[in-house]
Amino acid sequence: MLDYVPLNLPSPVVWATPFFGFLVIAEMLYAKFGKTKAANYEAKDSFASLMMGVGNQIVGFVTASIFFAISVTAYQHRIFDIGTNPIIFVACFFLEDLSFYWFHRISHESRYFWASHIIHHSSQYYNLSTALRQTWTGTLSGGFIFWLPLAFLGFHPAMIGFFSGLSLVYQFWIHTETIDKMPKWFEAIFNTPSHHRVHHAVNPQYLDANYGGVLIIWDRLFGTFVPECKEDKPKYGVVTNIATFNPFRIAFHEWFGIFKDITSAKPKHIFGYLFGPPGWSHDGSRKTSKIIKAENKKA
């Protein structure tokens, strides 16, 4: 077993938290007094989003030790001893972002992971406060497994955690309608408000698209990139929208749905209800995003 040497790196999320608050207030002011009134706010919805963010931090404080202990164990069994030099930092940035892409994509394609991630999509509004609407069950349901290969490869867990936090901070500013498009070169490489509006939209042609964290290149590479179309304004939320601003209901509603389905399903259908795509049903009475997209193409 190899040694684990602690690596002290700052927490980007902790450092950025005060800016989150100021920027949400600034966007609210813009929503109220700006010329375009582009940012659509509902205070009760933003309250729910912020409480989800606070809950995420509280639960994260308790469960971070689980993630860290497992990552350190993986790191102690690492394949390569690559150290922590600047080139490794750069490589870690790209590989962390690639891990996020797959984590995010699977979170939309398998209901088990979707049950945690749906929280982030449960608002019908799209503004900076939506960025803070985060899951309470992500770590407990094992979402961190997507980053474990990095620790096995030899990337230090603190480095992985640092870039993961940095990605979360980056993704804050893209949850806005106040920015239309960034310069072309930027839109080609990075995730932007325009790309992420598509990701949060329920318009059939926008479903299952733009999973990237910091970089949009992964979507271009793996064929999941969809550009925002001016003629087709995004409509936000999920296909089956919730009718509550209660943070506890928001946090657990999909888990409750899974519980109801698997307790009333035949044994052979349980796997489908748990790990199948959201919207899967044994009798075809519900619609997955693939079906919705196919129907839309036909129409």
Partner: protein, 131 residues
């Protein structure tokens, strides 16, 4: 850690209080057009002609080609579900909706007595036709 959490909760509450002060909270009233748009977003194959709207205009019902549709306002948005008659409990002109769905809490509202009687007549007749 506790002081950090209290600080974040306090800051979040201040941000939201500011949002309310700015008047960034409103409830819309359901009408035919908004209901049609919400239904289309929910399932583009849904078809229905008329809706009956609750007295306070925060809920509505419609009979569609896929069953009974329930609409409910959420701020200035609308949430939709396909329900069945078992989810509706009638007490005169007051209706209790029990969906057994924690994302769509149970609620009670009132409808115009004539509208709701007509609505139940229609659903019963349709039920008989389907039987």
């Amino acid at each position: 850690m506790i002081s950090q959490i209290l600080f974040v909760v306090g800051a979040a509450s201040a941000v939201i209080a500011f949002g309310f002060m700015l008047g960034l909270s409103q409830n819309i009233s359901i009408n035919n057009e908004l209901a049609k748009q919400a239904a289309y977003n929910y399932d583009s194959n849904l078809k229905f002609d008329e809706i009956i709207i609750s007295d306070n205009k925060t809920a509505a019902l419609a009979i569609s080609n896929k069953g009974i549709l329930l609409f409910k306002t959420v701020g200035n948005r609308i949430a939709v579900r396909i329900i069945n008659k078992d989810n509706i409990i009638k007490h005169g002109n007051s209706i209790l909706f029990l969906l057994n769905d924690i994302g769509f809490p149970d609620f009670k509202t009132q409808f115009d007595i004539n509208n709701i009687e007509d609505f139940f007549d229609i659903t019963t007749t349709k039920g008989m036709q389907n039987a």
